[in-house]
Symmetry: C2
Subunit: 147 residues, 2 copies
DNA sequence: CTTTATGCAAACATTTTGCAACTTA
DNA sequence: TAAGTTGCAAAATGTTTGCATAAAG
């Protein structure tokens, strides 16, 4: 456990849902010489140790969450902000689904990921155009994307 | 609607869950001169027309699904294969969750994405090491990653 | 004939890697 | 000292863009 790894861990734990380069910027304020390589290597290491989790939002850019306990996310389709959903897991319901799935598909099931898609309050008020376009579209066709 | 866009659409519609470069390879068999740029541009266009959907699996690589009706996916954590979950949406349950979320967070909610994580039958039998490690880990800590 | 899309190549952004020097236990 | 980690720079990967040409409506 080097100083670098320690600082990276603290930063991910304190600020939720940071991208790799947000972590990098924050680390650099405390350790001005860290390299991007070190940040990536440690984010991977910490994730595989189970000390942080890797999230995959809509863009091809990973985010990291200091909160490793199971919970759901809500992602803003506009600004890609990620927040925790303010309710707990429905344990039994999904447990049953996972069991059923395992039997139906012969997959070994290890978990699930539930993500809500929407617009954050800022984007809702700021971007009327997008909002009304989306409302129209989703009324016409139902919310289908990426499900 | 150009020939290229037509072929790309057909290919995405027929083979489910293809990555951009899988689409590219398949298109090239029919139209040997298409460029990657054209493929990406058309995948984006078709997605925003609602004719295909963009998925975001675990890696920083997009996949595209010809099936735009709402359904869930199961992703292999090892080989990244994506398949449809063999059961339909639980409409009411999630509708209620979405409404509740909207009220609790002031987000505008447009949908959700539910993805199951596991190992496909091939990877289960082929990669015993990973499998036993995962079983151990998930028994100790619960399945937490990426939720 | 106007608009839109194409192919190509270069640019971009993100993530990964090789390697010699340096830390840590 | 042995094992693991760092910083740096280069490479790999995935995606986007500018532009002149070509095709579509």
């Amino acid at each position: 456990m080097t100083r670098q790894r320690q600082v990276i861990l603290e930063i991910v734990k304190s600020g939720h849902h940071l991208t790799a380069d947000e972590v990098y910027e924050k680390v650099r304020k405390r350790l001005p010489n860290v390299s991007m390589g070190t940040v990536y290597r440690n984010l991977d290491t910490l994730a595989s140790l189970g000390q942080i989790s890797k999230l995959q939002p809509d863009r091809p850019q990973m985010s990291f969450d200091g909160n490793t306990s199971p919970h759901y996310h809500i992602t803003c389709m506009r600004c890609n902000r990620i927040e925790d959903a303010p309710f707990p897991l429905e344990n039994d319901g999904f447990g049953n689904l996972e069991n059923a799935l395992g039997k139906l598909t012969k997959y070994g099931i290890f978990g699930h990921r539930l993500e809500f898609l929407g617009l954050c309050p800022d984007c809702m008020s700021r971007e009327k155009d997008f909002f009304s376009w989306e409302v129209e579209r989703s009324e016409k066709e139902g919310a289908k994307d990426g499900v």
